[in-house]
């Protein structure tokens, strides 16, 4: 076992699955790169180098570069998935879903239901999300609440390199369409990641920290923040559980409810825009099904209802910070000793 970055973990998951199963293919803009160009082949390996090296090993027949035509190539991935391949298609930034959403939510996501349970669509859409790159309003969104809203899709938010590898292998082996969201700020994060392939099941939250006073449910990059905050609060005598749902659809409601039954307090941390987001989804779940256990109002920590700003100073204010998470925890601790 060695330390690997989130980027490497994803790359390794892809390579190992492609070795294992010849029906796994990868496609996306510049996923290899250099097509038709005079210079180096595999010139890019994706815009941030995540798919680098796959093409030299698997060839252009299994690592397909595409024109800038997301509807047609994401749709092609959906059609290929329904007819015998297991495509992993890259939507470079999740912000671009607006030019191809139909193929994801009305086609891939509904085949099985509309066709009476007879279609199998093992499609993975890998996509980059999240703020922190000074990439402004059209390259920094989360948007996973939108995919979570849609029945028929599964939605995965790996929060670390270890999680990324196991969840991506699971996603590729899963027979349903999966939206796999990679936080761009995490690509260089490192941790121990096993060399051999392994899977992490969907719909099982990861208890990243056990505590007794407050349950913090955090998503994606926010898991790291939540654990940092919990470290700090520990010294102040506040003991936090930090749950990482890993997948927002399916959602491990049981683990969340059980934890709140124990702690009686809930803070939900979500980097997505605040309206109809996962923070509201999880809060509502608890307010309906674990109401009796609640000793304090639920607190949601999310960005303001604005697009993501460009200026670093503003973007830093926009993203839910450890400070804001800490303040929310302290607030709920003021209720019901």
């Amino acid at each position: 076992m060695a330390k690997k970055s989130y980027r490497q973990a994803i790359n390794e998951a892809l390579a190992q699955e492609m070795r294992r199963d010849p029906t796994v293919i990868v496609m996306g803009e510049d996923n290899a790169g250099g097509l038709g160009a005079p210079g180096e082949d595999d010139a890019w390996g994706g815009v941030l180098g995540v798919t680098k090296g796959l093409m030299p090993e698997f060839g252009r027949e299994r690592v397909l570069d595409t024109p800038i035509s997301e509807s047609s190539f994401i749709g092609a991935a959906a059609g290929a998935a329904a007819t015998g391949l297991r495509p992993v298609a890259e939507l470079m930034f999740v912000d671009f879903m607006g030019v191809c959403f139909d193929q994801i939510f009305n086609q891939a996501g509904k085949f099985r239901y509309m066709f009476g349970g007879k279609a199998v669509t093992p499609l993975v859409v890998r996509t980059m999300y999240g703020a922190g790159f000074r990439a402004a309003s059209q390259h920094s969104q989360c948007l996973y609440p939108i995919f979570t809203h849609v029945p028929g899709l599964k939605v995965v938010l790996p929060s670390s390199p270890y999680e990324a590898k196991g969840l991506l292998i699971q996603a590729i082996r899963d027979d349903d369409p999966v939206i796999f969201l990679e936080h761009k700020v995490l690509y260089d994060d490192e941790e121990e990641v096993p060399d051999e392939p392994y899977t992490i099941p969907f719909g099982e939250a990861n208890l990243t920290r056990e505590g007794k006073d407050v349950t913090i449910v955090a998503l994606g990059r926010m898991v790291k923040f939540a654990n940092q905050v919990a470290d700090g609060l520990e010294t102040d005598g506040i003991s936090c559980t930090v749950l990482d749902p890993r997948t927002t659809s399916p959602l491990d409601a049981d683990s969340i409810l059980e934890s709140v039954e124990e702690t009686g307090r809930l803070v939900v941390v979500d980097e997505a825009s605040p309206r109809c987001n996962m923070a509201t989804d999880i809060s509502a779940l608890v307010a309906e099904q674990a109401f009796g256990a609640l000793k304090a109002p639920i607190r949601m920590v999310a960005p303001p209802h604005t697009p993501v700003p460009f200026a670093p100073e503003l973007e830093d204010l926009y993203i839910p910070s450890p400070e804001k998470i800490g303040a929310a925890v302290r607030e709920v601790m003021e209720h019901g000793a």
Binding site: P67, S69, G75, A76, G79, A82, M114, K118, P151
Partner: protein, 322 residues
């Protein structure tokens, strides 16, 4: 005559007649209130679906449109199951969950009717990619309407199929209208120039002439199978009914449909051609007409008495694993 033997011709006629009969019956049943939802009929366009699909095998895929019944029948979907689906029955092709606009049978290479105009062409690029990658020797066909030919998803797919050199064929069924809007107005340039613009051959075909469609499709399908890439067919034809059932069709000329039924009936044309050339006998065709009518009647009866889905079906079929 072409590569078609007598059995093929019988098969082609059966399918065209089945489509016609199916649609005429659905029209009547819908008018009588027995069928719920939106229904778009293919009557008048039979030679296109059948002319194309007579070139295909089960391993070949097609993707259809909202006007999907004809394509389904031409590709070999079970007709009784289709009728049950249109009635919303549990034994329908999709368990009653899809209805007229979503009939599919992947085991027959039918990737689904589609409620989204332009939804099919990207999917067909995918089926063609599967065929190419898995080396099945298969091809994939997208049926698109004249209206759908203006959708970005369709146009992108032309390009993708070309740059990926896919075994795909785009069949633009130009029935003159998208809803009430004439293709003469909505289509800038021309379908054939669009084919050329993205680097593929295009051919215009009389969509009421089964033989013309068959032959043009054969050329395109053969080309695709040979690994030479996609093509486009611009099939000109007419629909006998409104855009959907309930459409008063005031945008059409007085007597337009009546005249079409007289002058451009692909079934009548087929019959004339095969009987005049002695390939098939009129009596044989009459028998088919009767048998098809009976089987469609039987399908309607079966559909009417079939069970609707119930509470136990409400939550199923969303995911393979939960």
């Amino acid at each position: 005559m072409l590569q078609l033997n007598r059995d093929d011709l019988v098969q082609a006629y059966i399918r065209m007649r089945t489509i016609r009969e199916f649609e005429e019956r659905v029209h009547t049943e819908f008018a009588g209130g027995a069928i719920p939802g939106f229904v778009h009929l293919y009557a008048g366009e039979e030679a296109s679906a059948v002319g194309v699909c007579m070139n295909l095998e089960d391993k070949d895929y097609i993707a259809s449109t909202h006007r999907g019944h004809g394509h389904c029948i031409a590709k070999g979907c079970d007709v009784e199951a289709m009728m049950k689906e249109i009635y919303g029955r549990r034994e329908g092709s999709c368990g009653g969950k899809g209805g007229s606009m979503h009939i599919a049978d992947l085991s027959k290479g039918m990737m689904g009717a589609n409620g989204i105009v332009g939804g099919g062409p990207p999917l067909v690029c995918g089926a063609a990619l599967s065929a190419k990658t898995l080396k099945t020797g298969g091809v994939a066909i997208a049926f698109v309407g004249d209206g759908g030919s203006n959708q970005g998803t369709t146009l992108e797919s032309y390009n993708l199929a070309n740059v990926w050199n896919l075994p795909a064929v785009f069949v633009v069924e130009d029935n003159g209208y998208a809803e009430s809007t004439a293709s003469a107005w909505s289509v800038g340039g021309s379908q054939l120039k669009r084919a050329e613009a993205f680097g593929m051959p295009g051919r215009e075909v009389d969509g009421h002439d089964f033989f013309a469609v068959y032959e043009a499709a054969k050329e395109a399908v053969d080309r695709a199978r040979a690994g030479k890439g996609p093509s486009l067919l611009h099939v000109k034809l007419n629909r006998y009914y409104g855009h959907f059932e309930g459409d008063a069709m005031t945008y059409r000329a007085d007597g337009e449909v009546e005249a079409l039924r007289e002058t451009v009936d692909s079934l009548a044309a087929f019959r004339a051609r095969v009987t005049e050339t002695g390939l098939l006998e009129g009596r044989q065709l009459d028998d088919i007409d009767r048998e098809v009518a009976a089987s469609i009647g039987q399908a309607v009866t079966a559909a009417m008495s079939a069970k609707a889905p119930g509470e136990e079906d409400l939550l199923t079929d969303v995911y393979v694993s939960y």
